[in-house]
Symmetry: D2
Subunit: 381 residues, 4 copies
Amino acid sequence: MAVGLAALARGLIDPVGLVTARPLFEGLPLPAPSDFVIGGHEIRLGSFRESAEEFARASGVFDPSWLDACRDELAAASARVRTGTVCGAGPAIARLGNRSDLIEGDSAAPVIDRIESDLRQFAEAERLDHVVVLNVASTEPPSAVPPVAETWDDLSRALAADQPLALPASSLYAIAAVRAGCSHVNFTPSLGATLPALDELAAQTGSVLAGKDGKTGETLMKTVLAPMFAGRNLEVMSWVGHNIFGNRDAVVLDDPANKASKVTTKDRVVSGILGYKPSTIVTIEHVPDMGDWKTAWDHIHFRGFLGCKMSLQFTWQGCDSLLAAPLAIDLARLVDLARQRGESGLQKHLACFFKSPEGVDEHDFFRQSRWLEEYAQKARA
Amino acid sequence: MAVGLAALARGLIDPVGLVTARPLFEGLPLPAPSDFVIGGHEIRLGSFRESAEEFARASGVFDPSWLDACRDELAAASARVRTGTVCGAGPAIARLGNRSDLIEGDSAAPVIDRIESDLRQFAEAERLDHVVVLNVASTEPPSAVPPVAETWDDLSRALAADQPLALPASSLYAIAAVRAGCSHVNFTPSLGATLPALDELAAQTGSVLAGKDGKTGETLMKTVLAPMFAGRNLEVMSWVGHNIFGNRDAVVLDDPANKASKVTTKDRVVSGILGYKPSTIVTIEHVPDMGDWKTAWDHIHFRGFLGCKMSLQFTWQGCDSLLAAPLAIDLARLVDLARQRGESGLQKHLACFFKSPEGVDEHDFFRQSRWLEEYAQKARA
Amino acid sequence: MAVGLAALARGLIDPVGLVTARPLFEGLPLPAPSDFVIGGHEIRLGSFRESAEEFARASGVFDPSWLDACRDELAAASARVRTGTVCGAGPAIARLGNRSDLIEGDSAAPVIDRIESDLRQFAEAERLDHVVVLNVASTEPPSAVPPVAETWDDLSRALAADQPLALPASSLYAIAAVRAGCSHVNFTPSLGATLPALDELAAQTGSVLAGKDGKTGETLMKTVLAPMFAGRNLEVMSWVGHNIFGNRDAVVLDDPANKASKVTTKDRVVSGILGYKPSTIVTIEHVPDMGDWKTAWDHIHFRGFLGCKMSLQFTWQGCDSLLAAPLAIDLARLVDLARQRGESGLQKHLACFFKSPEGVDEHDFFRQSRWLEEYAQKARA
Amino acid sequence: MAVGLAALARGLIDPVGLVTARPLFEGLPLPAPSDFVIGGHEIRLGSFRESAEEFARASGVFDPSWLDACRDELAAASARVRTGTVCGAGPAIARLGNRSDLIEGDSAAPVIDRIESDLRQFAEAERLDHVVVLNVASTEPPSAVPPVAETWDDLSRALAADQPLALPASSLYAIAAVRAGCSHVNFTPSLGATLPALDELAAQTGSVLAGKDGKTGETLMKTVLAPMFAGRNLEVMSWVGHNIFGNRDAVVLDDPANKASKVTTKDRVVSGILGYKPSTIVTIEHVPDMGDWKTAWDHIHFRGFLGCKMSLQFTWQGCDSLLAAPLAIDLARLVDLARQRGESGLQKHLACFFKSPEGVDEHDFFRQSRWLEEYAQKARA
């Protein structure tokens, strides 16, 4: 994302892969690439430059000259990064945290306070109109919404009383963000802002919310192909999907607890679209030499006229980070557009970006996309 | 189609693969499977039963017991078949014609007269409300619309004068059909009813028209996947599609002239959806041992964020006839519905059934499907 | 196997798929299809005819007329089947046992005695020169060789003393077979005859031994492709193989204990050939609608000159039983040939038939095949 | 090749992909990477450095820092390159020739003389023991052996008389090479040294000959998999192979005449191994965006026991140049070894490197590889 925004701002690359660069969005007051000021919370040592170099080396997808050209932007962005927290993130993520001053606390309240304070300082220091907190951290193990997070009243009371709260790191960040009036986008399957209390609070603070779990590759394909089978009344008997990749996300997903979150969101889209449950298998495995190249093989076995069994297979070979980055930029731009239009809370028209669109049961990519198109047309009117 | 309608009428099979069996169409006055009376024109010897047995043996997709169960319906349908014509169908098709009494003529007029007379006799003998002429013949070589077919006035005058006309067999049938007040569905890429003169005439005779070239497999996939790339602003650099199959259609398509018609309709959908022209290759080859199993391998090479080149491959393994048959039944049912509703001429809402929807530039399967859904909803209202 | 032998004997089919029908074996005194008398032990109810019909129906690969033609042979073979045992076979297999009179015993000795007696009676009743016991039962959970089975002296003493022995069903059958002087082929990864004590005993009784785990599909491909990478000095970084199928084997392999046996033999061939250990993943999953169609997707990621990462993927779509059956017949024929030649014990030249060839470290299919060719040439000399 | 030899000599890369780096060849007096002196004939403008940069940019497979590290070697090699000829190479290749001083002549003799003189000067200037002329030029249209080239007597007489000769450029180079006592390796399907006259001459001049058409990817796979089907007596009904790529070779192969040469050598290996002719389709198409990434999809349809039809598909994604380069180096090393051992003429033990091994009917990769292994073992003895 950092390299891409800088390269776009410098005109080194064209905006291919950015949904918001489609003609549909022309004329809308979306922030330009150069309008963005990147900051963040991080638990690992290292700079954006180093990460980008490692990525270029391992996956071979990068013109390394761009890193030199964007040297200043990357250095400035790295300088704005603050140390984050692994509280409630689970052991697989905690093992990655090698900064010495990770935010810690015996309870949720002081951690949230510290993050909120970081966010407010960032906005002030950079004189920002709008901060969008984007969760692109590793996937946490599954978490249920604790009863205390059902209403903001209860949750704020518990925080004030410094009660121990069973909230994952992703939700601590989300609470801090919404309390600070920032918008929040959850690009992961982690719990994040999926708390009724935060829906309530967002209405008060004007935070725009979107999530969750960016739909980048195999699941995108599922939500594109399942409507075809439904449209033709072909019966999907089984849908088997195997994913392999080798980046840091893969390392974390090698932990069965973390993997469970991912597989769940990847699995349910098909039956959501078809209206019945075929046999499904979803695996996602860490194969180190694959680097960022997420490769998925899907085998769809379906029954047609006269009961004839037929099949469709696909292999998707996508660079995971470069599929995700432009969508994350799109979301930041569209969340900002919503804010400019005075909207707050969950944005149903952003469903097409997510594996588990919040507040929406629709998984059909094209029905979701229609909402986005109608929104853009309305916004241009 | 014949086996399927009989098996449906007898309750031997469920209606999987029939679009019109979706809940969307519930309550509409569509003809039931047992309402259909099958006839036809044929240039080859042999019965429906023999064709179905050959198909079952070569492709192994059939419960042979159904042929016994539906023995009477198949025999009755075969008895209604009349000998057709190969006039203007090109040499590859003419070679297949082995009936001794093929309709022949030095000019178009007597051939059309004979077909029209056959159609009128069929309707009368079977006391039919509505005859739908469905072109499921082999693909002809490409034909241009002759100037004389631009208006019905000119065309009818030329026919009356028994002028020689450069019209393919598919158009001779289509003229006969519309003149007899039958509806006409062109499931092939042949010229058929694509004559302005027939649009005019259909408005007078009340014929419903639909075409052309049924969208059953690889091209369906193209019109499903291309919108995904467009929606995500991923640049398709090349789209390569190779098709192999071994049925009688394949034998005819082995002739380069006939193949040209097919490749053209398969090829242009992608650029029609994307709005630009990637490199494309489309082949369709006869591999006898494949029988009816149309297998397509497509390789889509696309460019994403930061110019990263990624790819998607799919392999479609479908039984060609069993993908086409239910769609042909759907079209007959929907054309009949249109007729009941007093509509005539080209039906834009049937675009999702065709590779080259007549009168419509839209190839996106989901936009096309929306038209069908809206039509069904309106019809139910 | 039963249908195949009968159909071969009747000349209904050609011997495609039979290794021993290659010109290489012409002139050798291999038993003809009509020489075989099929018997067996079974734990489930049902006849060969019923199983074949179920198989034909679920997987659509059978000309059902053959079942009528071979009605007598199938009925006769079913009549020779005796009830088997599930002692030591593990719960997943025990659940399948629905015959009322399963062989049971508090210890191994009486079970073995009963099986041995069955085998002797079968040979006598049918006046057979040679009985080949072929293990084509479901895969058992992994078993280690118990110390008592290291020598025949110890094992025979323990059996005589009716000591409790931790032996799986497959080994009980194997002991009975070798004690009765029958030959034994283990087509599964179960322990079977892999007991040093039986190697010893076979030398005395003249039993020919071969095993284990028939190499039919994905693993065959591995032992064919890995030598190519080795020959070209291309470094295999990872080899990922996913298998799906839906027959009864798949039901048993759905039990993690049973699956462990299978995955182990499937996994180690690659490193055995390459001489180093790439990252590997092997899954094998039960997908009921696939029936007997074992479908495997393998992704091989390899490094070439200048460190360039390349890949090979394959999809294998094979009918599991029809890949296994001819190899099982081949093994019976070749084991009989060895017996005729006065050989006993493990047959190294049969390695190319097995995923885990006993007594041999060679997994390269072509080196293994050379042994078979050299053996055949020697036998013809 | 130039980058690889320099990088190997500098220890920047390991010798993965080099067959001659296998343990099998340890201890043999093969020339080291630093022993090679690269020269050549070229018809296009540009340097090795520029070609390598273009290649790295278009196909993204190169660590560009190696080009800086090997700057001197690349510059020196480029300085040794002389201008070649397009005489008899056909129009597709002639179009690529943009050097101003291409070798021309009204007849073959002066062109051959000039090339021979270049080769002798190169050997003398660089004080070389042995020059290996390696044809890695673009594929020419098919050429038959002219009668005059059946014996060296006739051919030398015709050259002396300056008769017009219908010989392609590849043969002009080959004649010059053998006459100059150089060895000759034909890595292409062009005619090259496939002239009986040159076999004769090589015996006199001591030239070592090897060819033709390097077996790098899809054809390698064919010669690996076909023996598996033969070994298992599975009947290959059809083998369909589609190749796409985008490098300069692809541009030349877009010309149907040039493509014909390639398709022929790719096609016949399968029937050569199986002993019968299945249906085959081979295409090779230019898709510019693929760059050097040769991607092949093969569909193999085969018949197994009881006539069951099954299939195997594979997708090979290889970087064409980086598959070819190490084999070309291997061949130069092994040809030099043969020369050291006093051998001359065609080398049967190099068959495993070629799609159309000269003087050999064996296409089975593993039988071919055994010859190489036996040769290496003999050479070490």
